[in-house]
Symmetry: C2
Subunit: 638 residues, 2 copies
Amino acid sequence: MTDLATELRRTLDGRWAHIKDEARTDLSPSDFAAPETELTMEEYRAHVADAVLKIAATGHPARGFPKEAGGNGDLGGSVTAFEMLGHADLSVMVKAGVHWGLFGGAVANLGTAAHHATYLPRIIDATLPGCFAMTETGHGSDVQSLGTTATYDPDTDELVVHTPDLRSRKDYIGGAARDGRLAAVFAQLVTDGESHGVHCVLVPIRDEDGAPVPGVTIGDCGPKAGLAGVDNGRLSFDHVRVPRTNLLNRYGDIDEQGRYTSPIENSTRRFFTMLGTLVRGRVSVAGAAGAATRTALTLAVTYAGHRRQFTPPGAKDEVVLLDYRAHQRKLLPALARSYALQLAQNQLVSLMHDIQSAGDEVDEHRQRELEARAAGIKAVSTAHATATIQMCREACGGAGYLAVNRLPALKADTDVFTTFEGDNTVLLQLVAKGLLTDYRDSFGNLDTLGMVRFGARQLAGAVVERTAARGLIERLVAAAPGRDSEKGPTDRGWQLSLFEDHERHLLETLALRLRKAGKPGADLFEVFNLAQDHVVDAARAHVDRTILEAFVAAIDACEDRAAAAMLSSVCDLYALSTIEADKGWYLEHGRITPARSKQVTAAVNDLCASLRPHAQDLVDAFGIPKAWLGTELLAPLD
Amino acid sequence: MTDLATELRRTLDGRWAHIKDEARTDLSPSDFAAPETELTMEEYRAHVADAVLKIAATGHPARGFPKEAGGNGDLGGSVTAFEMLGHADLSVMVKAGVHWGLFGGAVANLGTAAHHATYLPRIIDATLPGCFAMTETGHGSDVQSLGTTATYDPDTDELVVHTPDLRSRKDYIGGAARDGRLAAVFAQLVTDGESHGVHCVLVPIRDEDGAPVPGVTIGDCGPKAGLAGVDNGRLSFDHVRVPRTNLLNRYGDIDEQGRYTSPIENSTRRFFTMLGTLVRGRVSVAGAAGAATRTALTLAVTYAGHRRQFTPPGAKDEVVLLDYRAHQRKLLPALARSYALQLAQNQLVSLMHDIQSAGDEVDEHRQRELEARAAGIKAVSTAHATATIQMCREACGGAGYLAVNRLPALKADTDVFTTFEGDNTVLLQLVAKGLLTDYRDSFGNLDTLGMVRFGARQLAGAVVERTAARGLIERLVAAAPGRDSEKGPTDRGWQLSLFEDHERHLLETLALRLRKAGKPGADLFEVFNLAQDHVVDAARAHVDRTILEAFVAAIDACEDRAAAAMLSSVCDLYALSTIEADKGWYLEHGRITPARSKQVTAAVNDLCASLRPHAQDLVDAFGIPKAWLGTELLAPLD
């Protein structure tokens, strides 16, 4: 690794660099890589279950659990370790993530001291394999409408967990088909005929011998597009009885008299508070998507650096693929975006760590910000993974289609990331909703006309809340040239102000549109639905801006001069290729002139050409150990 | 099926409707569908080899071969039948396509009477399983640079086939790993120390017992992203001797005195003529990609028509997915594009049939047009398949990730289509090259200034050669409104002239750019490479226009009024969503105003809403038998 790559890696590794280094040294491909021989689904599941036990034996999973329950209380470190697992077999990552992250996270975050004492030690050492039984066959995105019920029976002081119909069957549940013993079941909690909304109840699903518990019917989702080592299954409950104390009761409890109590009165707020504590799942998926994408880029860029095809007229040697502009255009903007997303992910993990380590005293605004950031970064990172891994496969031609070269598994395993832990389209709407809520909080008292008069510039100060490097970015934006400036498109202030303007305009017009249309008597669904593409665009613009700000902050913090300069070029490529992709919007709204638009395209081409000699350094800086990458793609044929 | 769907199907089915109907009745899922149980790679390969024998037993494969060799001489019917196989297991389609289409096609098109008599009967009945050994480990796109040699030895009157190095190993060869007996090997033909360029030689690779022939080393490509039933392998030849007459000698022969002769003097022209006869492979891949995409759309649209999620405020029922604008926006423009591509594919098959049925008397211009059309439609259809099947998987959420619901196999099996039978980026450059050649043919004598003075309008008449419905399209374009017309974006003449303008401008500026830069002494690779994105854009614009023209011609030919009106709306959605995707270019080049651009977006939204009630009819019209589609996605949960 060159000095430059080492310095770049330092910036990419961020706050939990020590965890990443530990994983680079400790994770052994023979334990955690996908098996090289062809396995049946059952054999693969067994292999992955073993790998999870090996992870348990390292003791690392304790990292993410509270100190008082035998953990280390290092949430950020824990999520970072999962991200590193994303470079290995993604079946292992998901299986581990389901057990420790989702199931363990539910017990840790929704349960209280007694649950922690009873279960967490056996969760940490993986002797009690668990499931996270939220999604139902008929309800994925709309968790609030789950059909499973947990009804309190005062006669026996038990909860009766029941699946009323096929729609309410738990579906796609990782760990259900083969290994899970205890399930964290999300169900409508009912006491005395009254529903209190969705809560989480621990329900045993298999006995010590692995046989289904009476009343529990277990199905198998069978083969999937990828993640063959994860035993996804289906759970139906026929009036299954568990003790009242199996209710994870941090946000809602039933006392010995059978009375329901909760620290949060409003049931919708309670529901979202409970879900909010589970944000770690989305952060982890975003991290794993990033890791898989970086693996794919490392393979495709390395291959493109030695694979030759076509001899130009008069030349002696064939041209190296990465010297073709069309090939640079495919790989390098995606590489720049992976840099941007890694830096934004680091920031997100840090935010989550600080907020969730603060205990119950969390500011609601900060918590909402965390959830919106996680939703947005998850949506953008997983979409980037799907598009980029696909492109890398194609950039390697036939070799990219062979399983031995890993790209097929990277594609197939990450494919579900765009729709699990929240469908991306739904998540982006969640982001927009959060922004509109902030918007309403600031301007709720102004009528439409007043809001318009209030003026775009002042409005922006409130709506566009800086996520990083506030002072620096303010200065850059303030110094930004106007539309037809003589400064080139690589002026950072210009890029920042353009991203900001994009977000602000979409948000302002969206708020006006929803307010205008949302008159009394209006069909609210119709109003919302007609604006749905606008909603999603506004969210995406917001996420793009926060990612750019994270990049700017990371460059600012980079002390090595050469690395900072290189990062600045990569940031230019991220910013300008994003602007280029949206140039229709910018032109339509008079934000850039046609001449500027052409300058942006020219600048993207120039940046591709100038970064091309450093492409290998740029992927080496991802710091993926060679042993994890070993494929035929890495070395030239002779 | 409604009357409307039936009438739409009539238009979609086109000239070989009877072949499609035959396949709908005769193809039995139990014979040709992907197996429902989990198979090892070896078992799957055996299953697919059996399926190919079952196809042979139907006698249908004779359809594509010349009458004098026991065939029916119905090329169009043959390619259409392959397209229908694309609705079944794609491993079977590819395995059959390799044997009859590529291998059989090489013997039929590059061989002469003796080869036809000796081999075609056993190729038609599949008793002589073959391979098409063109691609090498080091040479995929650049076939002209293949390293395998076939050297004539006058002492024994034999050809010596040899693999000089690892780069020259035949790779990814379908049928090589398990079943192939005879390979059509592409190699540099050498006589008396002189190379005559790439020719095709028949080389036995396995004996009657299936053991490799001495001197032939066979490798296995192993598991792949998809197409698990196709036995892709590797072939190396160590001075393997075959009789001189094993040279497929239609375009180049060695006589009994060891002298090389060819009806085509120029070796480059000879090479491209030989490759040109093999155009059927690309046409077939485009067809299969279309079929797989239509299957995916049928599943996703049907699912979106009954799957519900989220109850709007104040409503009783949850909303059906397809009522969400964001969901319409995903599915319906892709559906419209699939209509457009089916109609363009029909036209392409027809063109190929007519040209290849005409024997040797083919006009070179027409042949070049066919090759360019096949390359362009293949590139656009397969890219559409990759993007659309991915989107359909995501639109079905977790259910779309389960193998039982077929979307995973559709995605994985078609994934290689974008890079085999010609990498899409390379193919688009081929299209552009063809256009530039036409351009030069028409204007070769004008200098740059003269060409500019010649004026854009006149230039266009020559460059933009109408592909269909010439009179009608001329009239529509002539009546087309100007940039700021009062006619709406659904005016067909406006759409046509915009597509045409897009292509013409890109092509004109490309020609000027290449000519300007291509001065004596210029680095020709540099000149070409800096324009590479421009080249690809020009090709894409050209293909888009020909597809739109095919759509317009098909509507014109549709006699049913209701169906024609519906097709017209679908065509609007195809045209406008394509314009919307390129709006950055149109705005940048002053082809549309910002106001018009917003109108286009609004029109796409309106078209989605107005087509939504007919979405089921639109997919039913694809005419995919229910038995082929049977998955859990088709029926509501209750």
